[in-house]
């Protein structure tokens, strides 16, 4: 089974085809940015993109990702090592507390901004409804997404 992750092709044993993508990433490929939180698509800590669409990798069999472009938090920035604007704003605005959910939050936010460059609060609430933050950083997450959107649209940062 071949998986294309962050633009790079990886070969994974066919016996792992039913294994959730999350565990292939974490245990087989050493990409630990996607996190295990619930195993039942309730918390969103494991969010990655398949062809640009956010999915919960804890309930996505690896085989279902074969032939698709898989993007994880490790590959969200560009090839030159530059951070995605969301990652920059997340650092500037000190969004995280424990930080465990934040990769998943950012992946959901990145997918949102791609298809909706000027999201409202309601758009953000809807796109991130599947991502829990136990520390309660939701206020900062919302503000950071607005700031990133403004920056992407050439506006000034909030």
């Amino acid at each position: 089974m071949k998986l294309t992750i962050n633009g790079k092709e990886h070969t994974v044993a066919d016996s792992e085809s039913a294994t959730p993508l999350l565990w292939v990433l974490r245990d087989h490929l050493g990409l630990v940015g996607a996190k295990y939180g619930c195993g039942v698509a309730q918390c969103g800590a494991c969010t990655v993109h398949l062809n640009g669409t956010p999915v919960r990798s804890c309930v996505t069999p690896a085989a279902a990702a074969a032939g698709k472009a898989i993007t994880t938090i490790e590959g969200l920035g560009n090839a030159k090592g530059q951070l995605h604007v969301l990652q920059e704003v997340w650092i500037e605005q000190d969004v995280a507390q424990c930080g465990y959910c934040q990769a998943g939050q950012i992946m959901s936010a990145a997918a949102l901004l791609k298809q909706n460059p000027k999201p409202t609060d309601a758009d953000i609430d809807s796109a991130l409804s599947g991502n829990l933050c136990r520390c309660g950083t939701y206020i900062r997450i919302r503000k950071a997404i607005h700031t990133a959107a403004a920056r992407l649209n050439g506006g000034t940062a909030v």
Binding site: R26, G39, T72, Q87, C98, G99, G136
Partner: protein
């Protein structure tokens, strides 16, 4: 700390980082007194070595107050040595030199030397006597009190391995450990032969454990070549439990028993001052019976630990709040000297008190010794919910007495709580005689009855206060309503004259600081403003963990009990602020956690088994329902204290009091979802 010739400064942060921001706050304190250029500072978590570092644990919001002087002194001592090195180089008195942003300056001659250039010489000078050091005054701070982004933020947002669960060692195996869902159950038999035949499974075996819930309970370990193989095998595991000594606890039975008991006084007296019955006879009399549930900590990173037993030594990588205690516990369980146990600190994905207890470390150690290769034990979410040390539920039968002038003069509480040993209240389930407002009123009668339990309980964010504040601060509002008084005025009156109940003790209530935060929260929230029907403001105060916090919630409730918390205005006094961004983040988080817990979190216990095993039935608050939070700090000159906990307790009562003011419905039992409220 290490200062390199290139000017970079490596500061070891001594305590566990669990999301409270201490890995940034500790080095910031050192850097302030060091006059370091913060952009040159790098931070690593320290090795566990109490001889060098002193206290190395995270709990009770005590990290800052317990380490404030030690860290300031360390920074000031290093600065003094750097200045001394420069003065020696220039052959001028040290008094003529000053430091700024990692540079020592001699203003008289305009000469400068960087810390990097001075470090090697400074390191050879004697460490100055602590008493000779002059620490900065607050007005001179350049870093403290500003907003500083967390030192791990870049690694967090790029998905670098930071957390316990991210640890990997060469030749590492993956482990799960299955215990009886009713605490106290022992393994009678298990289908180990079948499990060992499953793909990716290397071994499966019974561990009898120590039988202590904070160490290792009986269970079955499965060793696999991946986490998923271990999790899959866990589902196929069939264990027959001997439940002779297992818990049969039942939340619904306790609710019924407590209801019955609440009609009488408690069997034990906790505090009796003045004459409550006489006061009540001459006064308006108020009664209210309150209840709050058991809840789980549910940190988003489940319990896990990586352990490697080799060469007579055991090494552990553990997301724990108490690495020293964990080290001692592992040594005890394995029967090894403490010198042979090495604990490495790793970032923890949330703590909330769960990781004060190191059962997961002891389990990993026991498994690792048996396996011989490094193992990573990972609990499933279900394991984490089933095997927590829960926030204990409780019941309060209150009576209040209001005199003819409308003043609260008498307070009575029959507190119904739980005991595991038949002697003492279980962890988190004690009512202290000095709990507000008992110590401020003339006629007080506090009694207690304890129900037996086997369900493990433990400290949960702002232990005791996190639950008791809901009951107490709601009932004070009830008394204000019966007195026909404004809640703000009624509450302020309880504090009386400005005084510190125990001069010099930050853990004692200071009525001046209390009144100040209450007034500030009320003013900032527009207390008394006109609101449309169905909308209300609610006020609550609580003092815990050395923090004085008042909050005003603004809510609206429609005819279908659809609740919206629009805004929570917080005023707090924890002394000077270390990292303003971190402190504000903690308060915002406390408010969201407080609302989340009050709204929908409750554990049902049936036949000793927790019923809510994942987030589908244990609904943490989601982003759409997060209220706006306005944070106002009174930056006083008292010793700085912690902020991870004390902003939590007033949240639930402020919201519930606002619901009353919006609707006339008094919430006497949590969670709100159980009372029919929804978002």
């Amino acid at each position: 700390m290490r200062i390199s010739p290139d000017g970079t400064i490596l500061i070891y942060s001594k305590g566990p980082e669990i999301g409270q921001g201490i890995k940034t706050a500790f080095p910031l304190i050192i850097a302030e007194e060091l006059d370091a250029d913060w952009t040159q500072v790098h931070v690593q978590q320290a090795a566990i070595n109490p001889v060098v570092y002193g206290r190395q644990s995270a709990g009770g919001s005590r990290s800052i107050p317990a380490s404030w002087d030690q860290l300031r002194t360390a920074g000031a001592a290093a600065r003094s040595m750097l200045i001394a090195a420069a003065a020696r180089e220039w052959r001028v008195p040290v008094e003529q030199c000053q430091a700024e942003k990692s540079i020592v300056i001699h203003p008289g001659s305009g000469r400068q030397l960087s810390y990097g250039a001075l470090a090697e010489k400074a390191a050879t000078l004697p460490v100055p006597d602590e008493k000779s050091l002059r620490l900065k005054e607050r007005k001179d701070y350049k870093l403290l009190g500003t907003r500083v982004s967390g030192v791990d933020n870049r690694a967090i947002v790029t998905g670098q391995p930071l957390f316990g669960i991210d640890q990997v060692l060469p030749n590492m195996r993956y482990a799960i450990f299955e215990k009886c869902p009713a605490v106290g159950g022992k393994v009678k038999s298990a289908n180990l032969d079948e499990i060992k035949k499953l793909p990716g499974i290397l071994d499966a075996f019974v561990i009898q454990g120590t039988g202590k819930v904070n160490e290792v309970m009986p269970g079955v370990a499965i060793i696999a070549n991946s986490t998923w193989a271990a999790f899959s095998a866990k589902r196929a595991l069939k264990i027959t439990w001997d439940e002779t000594a297992a818990s049969t606890d039942s939340w619904s039975d306790w609710i019924a028993q407590a209801q019955e008991l609440s009609r009488k006084e408690g069997s034990t007296s906790l505090l009796s001052t003045g004459d409550f019955n006489k006061a009540a006879a001459d006064a308006k009399f108020v009664e209210g019976y309150y209840r709050y549930p058991f809840v789980a900590h549910a940190p988003l990173e489940p319990q896990n630990c990586t352990a490697w037993f080799h060469d007579g030594v055991i090494e552990l990588w553990a997301p724990t709040q108490t690495p020293e205690a964990g080290l001692a516990a592992v040594a005890g369980v394995l029967g090894m000297p403490q010198e042979k146990v090495v604990v490495h600190q790793v970032r923890a994905g949330g703590g909330f008190g769960r990781r004060l207890i190191n059962d997961f470390m002891c389990e990993a150690a026991a498994i690792a010794r048996q396996v011989g290769t490094p193992i990573k034990l990972t609990w499933t979410r279900e394991d984490d919910q089933l095997h927590d040390f829960y926030r204990v539920g409780g019941f309060h039968a209150f009576k209040g007495a209001i005199d003819k002038s409308g003043k609260l003069v008498g307070w009575s509480d029959h507190f119904i709580t739980f005991t595991a040993d038949g002697q003492q209240p279980t962890s988190g389930g004690d009512l202290r005689p000095d709990e507000f407002p008992a110590q401020l009123l003339p006629h007080v009668h506090l009694t207690q009855t304890m129900l037996s339990l086997k369900t493990p309980t433990g400290p949960w964010r702002a232990p005791r206060s996190c639950s008791i504040a809901f009951a107490i601060q709601s009932f004070i509002h009830e008394c204000a309503i019966v007195a026909g008084r404004d809640h703000l005025e009624f509450l302020l009156e309880i504090f009386g004259e400005p005084r510190w109940l125990k001069e010099g003790d930050p853990y004692a209530l200071n009525t001046a600081r209390a009144a100040a935060v209450i007034k500030l929260a009320a003013k900032q929230a527009g207390w008394g403003k006109a609101l449309p029907k169905g909308r209300g403001l609610g006020l609550a105060f609580h003092f815990s963990h050395a923090g004085h916090f008042a909050q005003v919630a603004e809510v609206s409730v429609d005819a279908n009990k659809k609740l919206r918390v629009h805004k929570v205005t917080v005023a707090g006094d924890i002394g000077p602020i270390i990292n303003l961004s971190g402190a504000e983040n903690q308060v915002e988080g406390c408010v969201i956690d407080g609302f989340s817990t009050a709204l929908g979190l409750e554990l049902d216990i049936k036949n000793g088994r927790i019923q809510q095993t994942n987030f589908d039935s244990y609904p943490l608050l989601r982003i759409a329902h997060a209220p706006e939070v306005a944070v106002h700090f009174i930056q006083s000159d008292y010793t700085p204290t912690g902020v991870g906990e004390p902003a939590f307790p007033p949240v639930a009562p402020a919201i519930c009091n606002a619901i009353y003011n919006a609707t006339g419905h008094r919430v006497r039992s949590l969670p709100l979802s159980g009372e029919g409220f929804n978002v």
